[in-house]
Symmetry: C2
């Protein structure tokens, strides 16, 4: 049912990949509510999307539903979790433990979804040794060793804009494969590295495009 | 040069709108560096995009560059700022002043870009009257009056997941047009309301899709 992931990566538009976690989330909610089967029409109603769009998105990965019978939710969720790689745990480190960094380390949403922050770094020596939860803040010099020892593959960047590129470069040099960037810039990364920018200003600026007519 | 925004909104794909603030940001940096003119090729190098994609994106809004002469950066930035509606200021309120809310209110990136948080609400009465910067936390009951009096059009939601839909509904009822949602759910909004979700878990989950092959 699940097609080879080798072929998948080059074929699937990124916008589809961005929607898959949303499908997974809603399917998870449906399971918790005790629902077994759902049509693309019902799924579309829940997600405010057309059923055709949903069927097209899922068709990149094989055939999940039978015509007129809807999707088996548990099966579809299981496949989506495999496709997304969220059927396993991921270990992340945080760089920058200022106000934003501390909010990130205390964010309750990561751990239940399998993302564990297992190390934190800061260049300010006054923060070294500070305990945040059960994580002791380390110096940037410890980064290479800690990443390797703790099998960390994701780096979360919460440093000021001017430091972001340097931090991202260091993370990549020391084996990080994915970067979640909270700094308000878009650092450059080589093509084999995947980066997501969390930038509330960019989000606001693409909202006002739609709002300015209403004033 | 700038086409009527009435026609623009229905024609422009959302992915293009999402890229416009990134163009604006990079053009701003170029101006600060003293650059006057840039080709789509150079812009593409800076943004890791093809020149054809950049020309296509900008073509939705008119003709900005002369063949072979590149873009006048100041002019293009000015037009983009008008198109995005970021040539004016916007007033926002924050709902939820827990750890995340306090990080948001102290985020240094909003104000220089024209987004001002001018009110904060929380349902916990122990937080009412607390000063965050120069903002006094108000009860949810004050929301309608404060939104109207302070001309607030954007709502920033930083409440737990279970409260998010209720808060979003209240904001919309009282005239908010755009919502920046930090709660780890995707609340439903009517079509005339624009919402952006800041959800680091969704970002991580669409990253691991690309990372799982490398393990």
């Amino acid at each position: 049912m699940l097609r080879s992931t080798q072929t998948i990566h080059s074929e699937v538009p990124e916008v589809v990949v961005l929607r898959l976690p949303i499908y997974a989330r809603v399917l998870n909610q449906l399971i918790e509510e005790g629902t077994d089967v759902i049509s693309s029409q019902q799924l579309g109603d829940l997600l405010q999307m057309t059923p055709a769009q949903i069927r097209k998105d899922l068709s990149y990965f094989g055939r999940f539903g039978k015509q007129g019978r809807g999707y088996n939710i548990a099966f579809l969720l299981d496949e989506l979790r495999q496709i997304l790689g969220i059927d396993r745990g991921w270990r992340a480190c945080l760089v920058g433990v200022g106000r934003l960094g501390r909010a990130i380390i205390n964010y309750p949403g990561f751990s239940p979804e399998g993302f564990e922050i297992v190390a934190a770094f800061d260049r300010d020596h006054r923060r070294h040794g500070t305990l945040l939860g059960n994580i002791s803040v380390e110096s940037m010099e410890c980064l290479p060793k800690t990443i390797e020892e703790r099998n960390i593959t994701i780096g979360i960047v919460a440093v000021p804009a001017v430091q972001a590129q340097m931090v991202v470069d260091a993370l990549i040099t020391h084996g990080i494969q994915g970067i979640l960037n909270y700094a308000p810039v878009a650092p450059h990364v080589p093509p084999h590295i995947i980066m997501r920018n969390i930038d509330p200003v960019l989000s606001l600026q693409s909202m006002t495009f739609y709002m300015k007519e209403n004033l």
